[in-house]
Symmetry: C2
Amino acid sequence: MATIEDVAKRAGVSAMTVSRVLNNSGYIGAKTREKVERAIEELGYVPNALARSLRFKTTHTLALVLTDITNSYFTTVARGVEDMANARDFTVMFCNTDESPDKEMKYLSVLAQKQVDGVLLVPAFSSPDPILFLKARGIPVVVLDRRIPVIEVDTVRTDSVRGAYQLTRHLLDLGHRRIAILTGPVEISTSTDRVAGYRRALSEAGLSEADAVVMGGAYTISSGYQLAQRALALKPTPTALFAGNNFIAIGALRALRDAGVRVPEEMSVVSFDDLPSTTVVDPFLTVVSQPAYAIGEQATSRLFDVLAGRTPTTSLDLVLPAEMIVRQSSGAPRREDPDTG
Amino acid sequence: MATIEDVAKRAGVSAMTVSRVLNNSGYIGAKTREKVERAIEELGYVPNALARSLRFKTTHTLALVLTDITNSYFTTVARGVEDMANARDFTVMFCNTDESPDKEMKYLSVLAQKQVDGVLLVPAFSSPDPILFLKARGIPVVVLDRRIPVIEVDTVRTDSVRGAYQLTRHLLDLGHRRIAILTGPVEISTSTDRVAGYRRALSEAGLSEADAVVMGGAYTISSGYQLAQRALALKPTPTALFAGNNFIAIGALRALRDAGVRVPEEMSVVSFDDLPSTTVVDPFLTVVSQPAYAIGEQATSRLFDVLAGRTPTTSLDLVLPAEMIVRQSSGAPRREDPDTG
DNA sequence: CCTGAATATGTTAACCATAACCTAACACCG
DNA sequence: CGGTGTTAGGTTATGGTTAACATATTCAGG
């Protein structure tokens, strides 16, 4: 790779003159400019961004640290981040933590070393440590998707409470009274928020604490499968299942298929998170759809505000609304005596 | 962010001594080491990778340039790349080109500036220019998914010819004789290869050139929808559709649904690319499944070989086999006089 | 013809980390 | 006790770019 010095030699000028041509700064004679431009062309020179970054203390690079890019929800978030970053001539590094706090910290350390200008973080865990680590090193962070309790940090997320409330309310309106919620890890805010919305809807409908059926597992297909199996074994059996995310929904639907339980005739199913429209011919699942792309965009936009020094005194907690989409997987419960399993 | 000089001052030693502690090189007294380690701890110091990279001419960073991370196939490729890179302590920058050669070149220029150690490229177009650009700057490239004609470059891809042959053969074995292939842009090697495999199967089955129904569009859902509509309007109407990728398959299935054509009773459908198992409850589509994760892994592994100087004289063209999975979307054609539409 | 502003280009130092080289103290040997 | 090797640490220069400063040329106006 040619350096600015190589270009300078070839053009018969000093490196500084080449720099001026490159950055259009200061005075440059017309002939000199031409000579320099020719030399740049001939050598295929591109400036070394490392050297620039070392001087200017900015790398024009962001990092997106998430749990698993393979989850279509995060894929879309990532796309929103990348588009917004690209529009400002930033590039994005991406890192999968697989929900491992260890992997997360390792990545954050590497990212700090690589001097990224900012980090977009989907925390693996509800610990303030990763945030503190970044703040201690002056690296701006925006947390996506999940809340981090205790600590002050910019956050962009979906209104899980309201989304869960809406879905539960929808089921209640259809006549369901025994609704099981199959949710992710209890330590993660999305889980607790969705359970909170679910409980709120139940209590508003006059149901008691005892009517709530909360089953916690992980945000995975296999967990969804197992939770649904356990829900089917309950007496009285729930008439509706509320899946805490798309993976749990897929797992639950498979469990129902394997158990020969028809949806929605024998069991209604609703889910937080839609399935990607690019992989489904005929959307069937009643869902609350998260504004994944917008979350990526908004979080990145906030990060740029912080980078530009446009930082209001208070930290942001941007809560975007989810959209409920009623489809065929939810219907009225079967007409039976509601008190017999 | 603290620098090595800050640490040195705090520990009362020179920067070089700190460097020796960090890299475990040279002699260090036990007390000195302790003092330095304490200072590092207290300041939360992490070494500046930019400065190191500037000296060592390696950034431990790769770039993955692809068309759209939102396509589940590429998401999985990306995951394969990231896992392999992470195992060697490399980070990955990702870039969506949206099949635009312009965007692609802009990204490559930025990546060259940022001194990435290597590029994994899913080319937007069958032009050698991007490869030449990188090679001129001494940046190793591995091309994924698609062939680039004319030029010598390492490539890792699926055996499109054979995969398409298998799918076509499968339809022929079921008794289909009028099979339409709905494919992507004719300039992209995956399209031409899949059409080639399709044609080979037809001709082996004793069908003539005139029996081939090749319809080219784009690798998008809307293109799949339109192509299927046009296929339905043909006389004689095909009895089977071969979708060139997953998006085309989804579009085609939607067109069939909207036209009230049942699959597989009235129309068999097969597809190159599977749909992600994480979004489908009950896989239905007969497909050839690409080893997406392995493609990402293998390509990255090859890149590391090149970086390590383990470069055989000849360039690699690694062609991984696709796996045919027969499901319910393909069946025997309806028993009619095969010569009347 | 001289002065000062405008134009054009070069030199030095800094960003941060470290390889290569250099200095100094000490232990051990004959 | 001088010589030599080991241990422990510092100094300088380098990597590529550019801000700040310095120098040199040109030109207009008095």
